[in-house]
Amino acid sequence: MHARPLILCGLIALAAAGCRREEREHSARPIGEQGPGKVVLSELFPGGSPPPGGSHRRYEENAYHMNEGKRLYSWFNCVGCHAHGGGGIGPPLMDERWIYGGQPENIYASIVEGRPNGMPSFRGKIPDQQVWQLVAYVRSLSGQAPKDAAPSRDDHLSAKPSEQQTPAQPPRNSALPTASERRE
């Protein structure tokens, strides 16, 4: 009997979290409405700057968006260079090292603007919402997303533990990889 109010409070808390996590918005805003106010073009971007409006939080806390990001990651062949996060031709995405910053708007910029040495620009090709979905998913690769919203295992061959089970690795900025590192 005394547990009732407690349960109620718990439910309300869960509800608030649940709504953000479970929303399924499919009406993507059309392409062209570009994300963060200014897209930085320099090669070196300091990470750690607080997100401007926090609009990307919507994506990172939302299971559906992150799952969409996961689908697009494979549909748009990100796997081709970055593998399932382990890296290959491109840098790995599941560790704590970020050359161009590991904050959402950094990753957003990398996708939209492209980066030297192979990362093409997808400006005009990937609608804004899908870029944010990809950003959220990419961050979940290094465990940056809430565990109850991050994608679980694939229904295909599992190349790595699911994003849900990836331990969080807070992003550290690192300089451009040295030549020797790149060769590895």
Binding site: S27, I31, G124, P127
Partner: protein, 367 residues
């Protein structure tokens, strides 16, 4: 909004091929048997209810059998499903009688008589069921009788929420991809290999055959034949998510000549733009979001996750049977796919209206 289709283009009772015809025959057999059984049961129930109506006026523990028989005949003659229900209604509304003493141990002789009737009915039920099992088994055999020497071999892959259709050729370079529309020659056996890359779907073209599931990790096969030319609608029959309702396809059964002509046309690469507008459309296609998912043979567009658009203009519908394929609907679909089919995987684009016009002109040229 919806693509026009004829009435009963997706009906299991308006069949166009031997497989579906076998099943339709079984249906009518079962319907006939069931209707007869139902009429008998209802008649029995009705008599059970009606036969003692006089008892209320003058109690009669053992009614005269001859009269009972006569009453039975009358009621049997009056049998007919709706009529029976109506009679039931009247009979019940007219009955009013005081509660009577219960009879905890009914007369054994009467019980024996009832027992004989019940056993006879049970035996009859078993016999009927046996016949139906046999009929079902024979029909199943009949479905298998369609020789497995297919003239056309088609691979259908279910995807959320459209159908990828691949025609195998010999050599394989004579194969091609299309979507949401299957052309088959009339009178030819067609083999459909059914696959899925995401969730379970089910292919159902009632006019030609029953349904078969498309299951990830498992290939199912369906043989069918169309005996009449026509356009038959089919639809996904296994719940597959958001847009399960709008995952339709057309089967176009045409003469062998028409089919051969269609096949040759599909094999060709996409035609080059014929004018400046189309050329601009092609440029928009190649530089915009379209290329991320769609392929047009003969161009740089090589996306494989969406439908192949090499000959998109030759298809009758867009968005898996949802809208007719014409200029207006095509433009609407490009501008706002989420409005037409919420939740589907095609994102809205924010192209300049002139670009959309050019893009539509280009896509319309891909016959």
């Amino acid at each position: 909004m919806t693509a026009p289709v004829g009435p009963f283009a997706q009906s299991a009772l308006h069949v166009a091929g031997p497989q579906a015809a076998h099943i339709e025959r079984l249906w009518w057999l079962m319907f006939g048997v069931s209707a007869a059984v139902y009429a008998l049961v209802m008649a029995a129930l009705l008599i059970a209810i009606l036969r003692r109506r006089r008892a209320a006026v003058e109690p009669e523990p053992r009614p005269d059998p001859a009269r009972e028989q006569g009453l039975g005949r009358v009621v049997w003659a009056a049998t007919g499903l709706t009529a029976l229900t109506l009679l039931l209604l009247i009979a019940i509304l007219r009955r009013r009688r005081a509660a009577v003493e219960p009879e905890p141990r009914p007369d054994p002789a009467r019980e024996q008589g009832l027992g004989r009737v019940v056993w006879a009915a049970t035996g009859l039920t078993a016999l009927t069921l046996f016949l139906l099992i046999a009929a079902s088994y024979l029909t199943d055999k009949g479905l298998d009788a369609l020789a497995h020497d297919e003239e056309v071999s088609i691979e259908v892959t279910g995807q959320q929420w459209w159908w990828k259709v691949r025609y195998h050729g010999a050599p394989e370079s004579r194969g091609f991809d299309t979507a949401n529309e299957i052309h088959i020659p009339v009178g030819a056996t067609v083999k459909l290999t059914l696959k899925s890359t995401d969730v379970i779907h089910s292919l159902w073209v009632p006019a030609l055959h029953g349904k078969q599931d498309l299951i990830p990790g498992q290939d199912n096969v369906l043989y069918l034949r169309a005996d009449r030319p026509g356009i038959y609608r089919g639809q996904c029959a296994e719940f597959c998510g958001f847009q399960h309702a709008k995952m339709a396809l057309k089967v176009v059964a045409e003469s062998r000549e028409d089919f051969a002509r269609w096949r040759e046309a599909q094999l060709a690469p996409a035609p080059q733009p014929a004018d400046a507008v189309q050329a601009r459309g092609m440029a928009v296609f190649l530089s915009g979001p379209c290329v991320m998912c769609h392929r047009i043979a003969g161009t740089d567009a090589g996306g494989v996750t969406g439908p192949d658009l090499t000959h998109v203009a030759s298809r009758r519908t867009l968005a898996a049977g949802e809208i007719p394929n014409n200029r207006g609907h095509l433009a609407a679909w490009i501008a706002d796919p989420q409005g037409i089919k919420p939740g589907n995987h095609m994102p809205a684009s924010n192209l300049d209206p002139a670009d959309v016009r050019a893009l539509v002109a280009y896509l319309e040229s891909l016959r």
